[in-house]
């Protein structure tokens, strides 16, 4: 304290004791003190109101109040002035409790002398100053926390608003589009009466263009979600044949309109794949529509699927004009760029390729282009077969690119005696529960492992939410509740580059253990 005079308020109803303290301070050397003495708390508060004191010396034994009650009463009305307790009672317990009751020091009257009292006052002032600073820092932290919470809440609301908005806009587009497409198709089919071949051809063109418009709505929806980082995937086991079957109607219509041949060649040894089926449909449509755009009437486009190590390689081959080496480079460059510059895509190739690349990435695959001028082009992509070990490996390889990351393994389990049908319902429930970047594998009829890209603390929130969600689902289930699902956090990792072997080994051991039980 650089202050020349320290103003001291002595609160003591014993004139003798007060006098001793005053003498001790008078003889305390260079530091000067200005003293005021009062005999009760009421007087003390009156004094504090009119004058600013640097420290108070408080006797716990006053006429109106005794012991710690005196300190409590004082602190109730004043929280800022440093307090040194001066007490006639030599009681260690009270001394400690006083400090807890926000006095800064405690002196027994018998120990009071110039040096002990002046030191106690000096420290009390310093201590109280740091207490005040901590308190104000704390207040600021609390205030900031509140601001952050509010902002976070607002962001969450905005995020949801954007999400719903994009969904609603696309819904608004889609409703009239559905009607246009369906009515054209009804007339073209002859359902509404006979039409001649030329009328049929025109209506096919109209329906094909309606399909294009629908693809564009999907593209815009995906694009806006990609830019907002909202594009999630719902990956599970799928048959590639079924995925292809779903895109064939609109693609064969387009082929017919463009007078092309559409061929589908799916090898027999192709196994099920692990992906988001709808997203892969979108990739197929985008790549096939792109291929058809550049193929002349009479030409052909082939969609093929074949086994390639632990992946399925899906290729879209056309016998169009092909792409020159320079242009191929540009396309590759575009593939490279899209991660940073989604917005700046493309004339001629449309948004389709950028979206295809992004969607393939989300499905743990890779996209590729090969082309020869005059011969044709092949756009191809891989999707992992539904083998948890391999999928995890691909997943880690993809996350490893961002170097730092967290991964928590959660094991979900139901009673093994639950019927197969109900267990499948639980599987569907878990399938909807996992979010965009989670992985979920069913390792036996009643056990699932979930890999969540987050630290253990967040995974705990996930399991808590999952349990709540199960409860609310069960309230609504007309056909009786789902069985209880036990979630257990199995392990958690924080550096994926260093621990990927360990993670793979863990997945492996879980699978082989459960396969054994299952078998």
């Amino acid at each position: 304290m650089e202050r020349v005079v320290i103003k001291v308020l002595i609160i003591d109803d014993d004139p003798e004791d007060a006098h001793l303290a005053a003498i001790a301070l008078r003889n305390a050397g260079p530091q000067r003190y200005e003293l005021k003495r009062v005999t009760s708390l009421d007087e003390a508060f009156k004094a504090i109101r009119t004058d600013a004191f640097d420290v108070a010396l408080l006797d716990l034994g006053l006429q109106r109040s005794q012991g710690l009650e005196t300190l409590r009463a004082f602190r109730k009305r004043n929280k800022t002035i440093p307090v040194v307790i001066l007490s006639g009672l030599e009681d260690e317990a009270i001394a400690i409790q006083s400090l807890e009751g926000h006095a800064q020091d405690y002196l027994f009257k018998s120990d009071v002398d110039s040096s002990s009292l002046s030191r106690a006052i000096r420290y009390a002032i310093q201590r109280q100053a740091s207490v005040m600073e901590v308190r104000s820092l704390l207040a600021r932290v609390e205030e900031n926390e509140e601001v952050l919470l509010r902002k976070n809440e607002r962001l969450k609301r905005l995020y949801e608003t954007v999400h719903t908005f994009v969904d609603n806009v696309s819904h608004e587009f889609r409703t009239p589009l559905t009607v246009v497409k369906e009515y054209v198709s009804l007339v073209r089919d002859g359902t509404m009466g006979e039409i001649d071949p030329e009328q049929e051809r025109f209506l096919s063109i109209a329906e094909d263009r309606a399909d294009d418009l629908n693809t564009m709505v999907d593209d815009m929806l995906d694009m806006s979600k990609m830019e907002a980082g909202l594009l999630g995937v719902c990956r599970k086991d799928h048959s590639i044949q079924k995925i292809v079957d779903r895109v064939v109607p609109s693609l064969s219509r387009k082929a017919e309109v463009k007078e092309l041949t559409l061929r589908i060649q799916i090898d027999e040894d192709v196994r099920d794949v692990y992906c988001d089926g709808e997203k892969i449909e979108r990739v197929l449509i985008n790549l096939a529509v792109n291929a058809m755009k550049f193929t002349k009437p009479g030409g052909s486009v082939t969609i093929a699927a074949q086994k390639q190590d632990s992946d399925v390689l899906v290729s879209i081959t056309d016998d169009g004009p092909g792409i020159s080496k320079d242009n191929l480079k540009t396309i590759f460059a575009r593939f490279e760029q899209v991660e940073n510059e989604v917005r700046r895509s493309t004339k001629g190739f449309g948004l389709g390729l950028s979206i295809a690349k992004e969607l393939v990435g989300l499905n743990l695959g890779q996209i590729n282009v090969e082309s020869e001028v005059g011969v044709g082009s092949t756009f191809s992509f891989t999707i992992p077969e539904s083998d948890p070990r391999y999928v995890t490996q691909r997943y880690l390889a993809q996350m490893g690119r961002s170097r730092k990351g967290f991964l928590t393994m959660v094991v979900a389990q139901i009673d093994p005696l639950v019927s197969a049908e109900l267990a499948d319902e639980v599987d569907v429930f878990l399938g909807y529960l996992v979010r965009g970047n989670d992985l979920a594998f069913r390792t036996s009829q009643n056990v699932w492992i979930l890999l969540l890209p987050e630290p253990e603390s967040e995974a705990k929130q996930f399991t808590a939410r999952a349990t709540l969600e199960l409860e609310s689902t069960n309230r609504n289930r007309p056909r009786g509740p789902l069985p209880a699902v036990k979630f257990k956090i199995d392990d958690s990792w924080s550096d994926l580059r260093l621990t990927s072997e360990e993670i793979l080994a863990r997945v492996h051991s879980h699978i082989s253990r459960n396969e054994m039980i299952y078998a």
Binding site: D167, H171, L177, T178, T191, M192, R246, F429
Partner: protein, 151 residues
């Protein structure tokens, strides 16, 4: 109204969509089968028609005024008289949330709009048997349909 015997055993399908063009197109699609199509234009109406007509299958939209698809599905699936009726949701909503919600309410299938007609038919056929209209009966069938709709 004099019902033909054929209509007595006919499959009854209730379509609920606030866009009459959508339900009409489903009706047209099903014209080649021995099916009676009932149409409702909002959720509440759909609910009442389900309660009074007991259709064999229901196709419903999600976003509708006066009773959403959620309302329709929830009330029907909670009622022991109607909970067995298969429900197909046909919606333009693409969000996984909607699908998950509908699924947890107990719907049998979820189709995206626009839906390929063959896919719609094959999904219906998973739950009810569709019999093609016999040639020669078509006219009678169409007349019966008209009179049914008027009623």
């Amino acid at each position: 109204m004099s019902k033909t015997p054929q209509l007595e055993n006919e499959v009854k399908i209730l379509c609920i969509d606030d866009d009459p063009d959508v339900t009409r197109s489903i009706e047209l699609r099903l014209r080649e089968y021995q099916v009676t199509v009932l149409r409702a234009f909002h959720g509440m109406q759909g609910f009442w028609m389900a309660m009074s007509e007991f259709p064999d299958l229901i196709i419903t939209d999600v976003v509708m005024p006066q009773g959403t698809g959620d309302y329709v599905v929830e009330t029907l699936k909670r009622n022991s008289e109607t909970c067995h009726i298969p429900i197909i949701v046909l919606s333009g909503q693409r969000g996984a949330d909607t699908k998950k919600r509908m699924r947890s309410l107990g719907v049998e299938a979820y189709l995206d709009k626009p839906c390929d007609p063959d896919e719609l038919i094959s999904t219906i056929e998973k739950h009810v048997t569709l019999k093609a209209v016999e040639v020669g009966d078509e006219e009678l069938h169409a007349v019966a349909h008209e009179s049914h709709r008027v009623s």
